[in-house]
Amino acid sequence: MRNLTRLILSGVVAFGVAASGLSLAQPLPKAETILDRYVEVTGGKAAYDQHKTEVLRGTIAFPAQGLTGQLTRYSAAPDKEYSMVELGPIGKIESGVANGIAWEKSVILGPRVKDGDEKDQAVRESRFNAPVEWRKIYSKVETTGVETAEGEECYKVVLTPSTGKPETQFFSKKSGLLVKTTATAASPMGEVDVEVTVSDYKSFGGVLVPTRSKQKAGGQQLEISISNVGVNEAIPPDLFTPPADVKALIDKAKGK
């Protein structure tokens, strides 16, 4: 769940990390402890396990450009997801992951099948209930310090996936909640540094979800506001099936 916001933005970024205030006096808690605490403070594993599907609805905005739109993300255990952003003059942008295939389709670039690091990243971020599944997603996690992020003293945790670049998450010392993530997103236009801050946690189906995020990428900023998370809503199974023109590309690549 906490990967959602970054996932929608993968595409842009550049940032200046607002961090400082190293605390050297106290021993740092293990990263495993911090990540497991996040699960507890957001509802506990039992609450997460009750979730089998989620439908997330909200708005997306590029304030500097004056662009606003709607986003919807459908996800289902264990690793299926389909997202749709409708962004006014940019048109519809769809993306999805199913059966290990990650794809995207937009008016501007057309359909495409993701590969390499971009695919690995999409597959990783499609994992349902990611907070409780972190051991399956990351091969190494490490607490590297204490820094102030968004005015809060945070534990800084570096998480390294089995493929791709490490990302850094900042968890509030006080609440245990995730405050900020910095990462390098793989995109067709190249690697882009991304900074995502999240806030306004609200409970949906017994699990706390950040409902606001601000993201910086590639010199652009975008904001996402989640209005509702439908838990265990019925999702048509074919929603996760890639559209026909994406299938055509998959078939073309296979030489069919």
């Binding site: 842009v12 970024v13 550049a14 940032f15 590029f62 500097a64 450009q65 004056g66 662009l67 006014g88 003059p89 940019i90 048109g91 008016v107 501007i108 670039l109 057309g110 359909p111 495409r112 067709p188 236009m189 190249g190 882009v192 540094d193 590639g218 010199g219 023109d245 055509a248 590309l249 073309k252």
Partner: protein, 416 residues
Amino acid sequence: MALILAGAPLYGQLTGAQKQLNLDSFETVWTTIRDQHWEKNPGGLDWQAVHDEFRPKIEKTETMEDVRAVLRDMLDRLHQSHFAILPFAIYQDIEHSEEGDGTPGFDVRALDGRAIVTEVAPGSVAAKARVQAGWEVASAAGKDLAPLIAQLASVPDLHELALERAVMARITGPAGATRRFIFLDGANASRTLDLRLAPPRGEMAPFGNLPPQHVWFESKKLGNTGYVRFNMFLDLVRVMPSFGNAVEACQRCDGMIIDLRGNPGGIGGMAMGMAGWLVDKPGQRLGTMYMRGATLNFVINPRAETFNGPVAVLVDGSSASTSEIFAGGLKDLGRARIFGTRTAAAALPSLIAKLPNGDGFQYAIANYISEGGKPLEGNGVTPDVEVKLTRDALLAGHDPVVDAALDWIQKRKGAK
């Protein structure tokens, strides 16, 4: 008038207030480059040291010409194009525009120092008044255009695009208003016509905070060659599918012509998207844009069905930005042959800002390297086949650039 004189004393001693405005202008220029140049150390320079060297020089200046000379010396240190100081009077000419985008229905280009009608829209006010391609627009709204063109053409590094816009600004105005034009027809006879300006061609396309633009798209067949033209890389929800439909309808064509003459660009991503219908090999790119804090590869995403025949791209000095990225990238990849004249060399968002002292300041905020390894900014795209529009050809009803592209496509067909 008093304001103009206060803002832009051309000669003579500067007052204390004017000197302060010049100091403020110096700081604006220096700070803009410090904060917005694509390199953290602009031009590889110690930019603070540049400030410390030139600030005392500005403080000692006694005339506006001295001020401009010092600022230009500072900008010259960058050894990069599209950093310029535009004197107040020229800045006024470039920025001149009346409210409204009403048009008499003809397009003009500066050809050999004169404003020549290159196209008359069917059914337009101009068409009804029998204005013809090849006529010279001697004056518009009481302003003689040849001297204006000569003045602007004398400014080093000024985009041809800016010149064309300055000329068009004299021709367009509020829809519904009547404007007096003096033409020289095909026999060089003077013809005075009062033409009522009409709303421009195309559909209004809003894009966030940008002012809405009229965008049009056309496609047709010239024999068995597809021909596509659109005025801007905007309104992507309408233009991208239209482009795709045109390509898909042309799978059996002898070739395709994509006419980007007069197209000032728009959304850069549309160049990648359109190239995806023309390039079938994955992983290719048009080029790379370097900005402060971001490096963006303009990667082509091949569509499931691509057009694999010959592609001709037509350009001129008003083809800028995304047009240059598209044409330059396809040329470098060997996927298109370019016809026309050198493009605007304005691949980047080169902005013109007004300085506190009234002068204009032009600056680029990114660098773009086309796939062939050459910066487009300041260089532009040089056509494979240079073909100039001429007044004589236009008067004879020909478009020599289209003719050259068609001839090449037919030769390619014949060579198969």
